[in-house]
Symmetry: C2
Subunit: 153 residues, 2 copies
DNA sequence: GGCGAATGCTTGACTATCTAAAACAACCAT
DNA sequence: ATGGTTGTTTTAGATAGTCAAGCATTCGCC
């Protein structure tokens, strides 16, 4: 009964998996906290951070956030109500609406970035050499598909 | 203007931070997908996984999931409706309700664990020695506060 | 030039997650 | 016994997410 034919995993792999789980959990916690400090939800913070780099069509936002466009409509609505984001027409295509961060929106996004100490603090524990080693290991683990934005267009 | 007095960060640290962000994103994606394969939401999957180890009081669940107890009520309700979880009285304290996974719930939790290939697949890329190095780096990064469940009672 | 299909966004209906506040029951100390 | 504390649920309300339908615009094609 319950023949869980789970491929045998060595304890080391299990431990690494658990460590990664811990990193993931802590990262999220810190992110949500940082967002909350600026009266943003996680989803709002992610969207606003994207827009602080460049204006984007709603459709593009949905792709980057991996959700339905109709969902983006709501999130942008709430940010627009608060004056952090605005919708602009796309001169090249009148169907498209470009969401863009306002000056205030960019200010908040900057503050958010600064609050995101998660990455800096624990990394400070590591020497340059160790950071280098960590980078290489993570790269290999991610299989070079680390184009950081290569989410096929 | 906007004197973002952001402590200068070296490019290596920035890159490592981005890599960790990618790991976090992929982990979540995989987790949600695995949950969806078993007709569970992320929150339901996390809760059920906890209960597959041992029955827990609602209050304890809320602590582990870092949310309000009233929230746990709803999630357990939905899982109970589907017969994956049941509420039992705590013989030692009649106020307490112990949430416990049913046999079917444990079965699903097992399947969920098996689907969670995220950790195994990319880790297979690494040699034993590299895994060891990665473990040590992650441990140091997390500052030994990796008691994996030492969420003070 | 115009017609139909495809594209971009929004709306509406519905579910899940989450919080805060209030209600209720049971425990515990005095 | 009384009263304060603790554990759970209920209620109300917000956000986030899906899917299907609707509307406007663009594009392919004749």
């Amino acid at each position: 009964m319950a023949t869980h034919k789970r491929p045998r995993i060595d304890p080391l792999t299990v431990e690494v998996v658990e460590l990664i789980g811990t990193v993931v959990a802590r990262y999220h916690e810190e992110y949500e906290d940082a967002a909350a400090e600026h009266a943003l939800t996680g989803a709002q913070a992610r969207l606003l951070s994207l827009l602080s780099l460049e204006p984007l069509p709603m459709r593009r936002l949905a792709q980057k956030l991996r959700c339905e466009p109709s969902n983006v409509t709501g999130i942008v609505d709430r940010l627009e109500t608060r004056g952090l984001v605005e919708r602009r027409p796309d001169p090249a295509d009148r169907r498209v609406k470009l969401a863009a961060a306002t000056a205030e929106g960019r200010r908040i996004a900057g503050g958010l970035r600064d609050s995101l100490d998660f990455a800096r603090e624990p990394l400070a524990e590591l020497s340059d050499q160790e950071r280098l080693a960590l980078r290489d290991l993570l790269r290999r683990m991610l299989g070079e598909s680390t184009g950081a934005g290569t989410d096929g267009g």
